[in-house]
Symmetry: C2
Subunit: 185 residues, 2 copies
DNA sequence: CGAATGTTTCGTCGTGCAACGAAACATCCG
DNA sequence: CGGATGTTTCGTTGCACGACGAAACATTCG
């Protein structure tokens, strides 16, 4: 579960985001753009030497990918997973991170709550179940795609526009910690 | 957008997760349990004095809430938002954070991609739209709930079990950066 | 009250790391 | 080839912070 290895890896990734300069770089790339080192340095307001070491760390940590092009080197986010991570962190910072909704000494609060309710998460799990019931998914190890019949069903249910390119995208099959079930991601 | 304030706040939160001891504490609480300082110190393997300052920082940063109880003080995650944050970070660390799927110098890759595709995100937005079309949501500033008729519709579509308590839960109304639209969270 | 237990505060030490200028390296252009 | 421009490496400095033991504080129990 929370084996020592897990927390070190978690801390390692978090540390990459824990410096304002690096956070600024990632935010600047959130629109999917690819930018050269110099420009990023200017955006976050540090010297070229400094931004260079930040970029190196972000690339080494697989948060960015680099693409050499002449005497420039263009950096961009390594993938949607990274974008999602930055997004989550940014949203957490946007709101004041709700203080405890109730600090009342209600003994009921003390019973172990085995999960946090998460509306979208539960819909994701429910949706996954329905899709699998209908053989609407093509499952291949941990990658999965919507089958044509599945796409049709979702369209009829009004959840998908006809011809929506999303239908073609591969999803990932992973365990949602909140639900401890497989879900769509 | 990525105003200096935003990146400092982001870095600030990330810094709280950037220490193995603190990451371990949060992971240990991911099951929703509330644990006293001493136990947490033992779990992550640091002296009482050390865990105390970590806990203080996590509470000050609104990631944990504390609940005094006799000579113990029980700590637990401050809310589902925090659980989601830790979960995202842990999942990012679990897989090797996909290296660039294609490093090919395809010039098409260089065009600005204005968004990252996110299957669940797009479903969330689509679902939100359908629900609003049907007046299935009771919207009150930035809180929202499913109306009875909305719950009925989702049940008929097979996305909700009859009597599912989720239907009673308030959702949040926030902008999804990926879709730049309101969505369910 | 006084001992036992759980927790925080204080003071100190050591290490990690961000920042910069200067210099090395690479690439384009005239 | 040589000068201009973009980027990285090197070496240094300074600060932030995690770790701990000792001592102070709080709470329960005998």
């Amino acid at each position: 579960m929370s084996a020592p290895a897990t927390r070190h890896r978690l801390a390692e990734i978090a540390a990459l985001l824990a410096e304002p300069a690096r956070a600024g770089i990632l935010l600047a790339l959130m629109d999917g753009s690819a930018r050269p080192a110099g420009e990023l340095g200017e955006i976050v307001g540090v010297a070229p030497a400094t931004v260079s070491v930040h970029l190196r760390k972000l690339v080494d940590g697989n948060l960015l990918v680099v693409q050499a092009q002449g005497r420039h080197r263009y950096f961009r986010l390594a993938g949607e997973e990274v974008a999602h991570l930055v997004e989550t962190l940014a949203l957490a910072g946007a709101r004041p991170l709700v203080a405890a909704p109730s600090t009342r000494a209600d003994p009921l609060l003390r019973r172990a709550r085995t999960c946090y309710q998460h509306l979208a998460g539960q819909f994701g799990v429910a949706l996954f179940d329905r899709l699998r019931e209908r053989n609407a998914l093509l499952i291949d190890s941990d990658a999965l795609r919507l089958s044509p019949s599945g796409a049709r069903w979702l369209t009829e249910a009004g959840l998908l526009e006809a011809g929506d390119p999303v239908a073609q995208l591969p999803g990932r099959n992973c365990i949602d910690w909140t639900e401890r079930r497989f879900h769509l991601a």
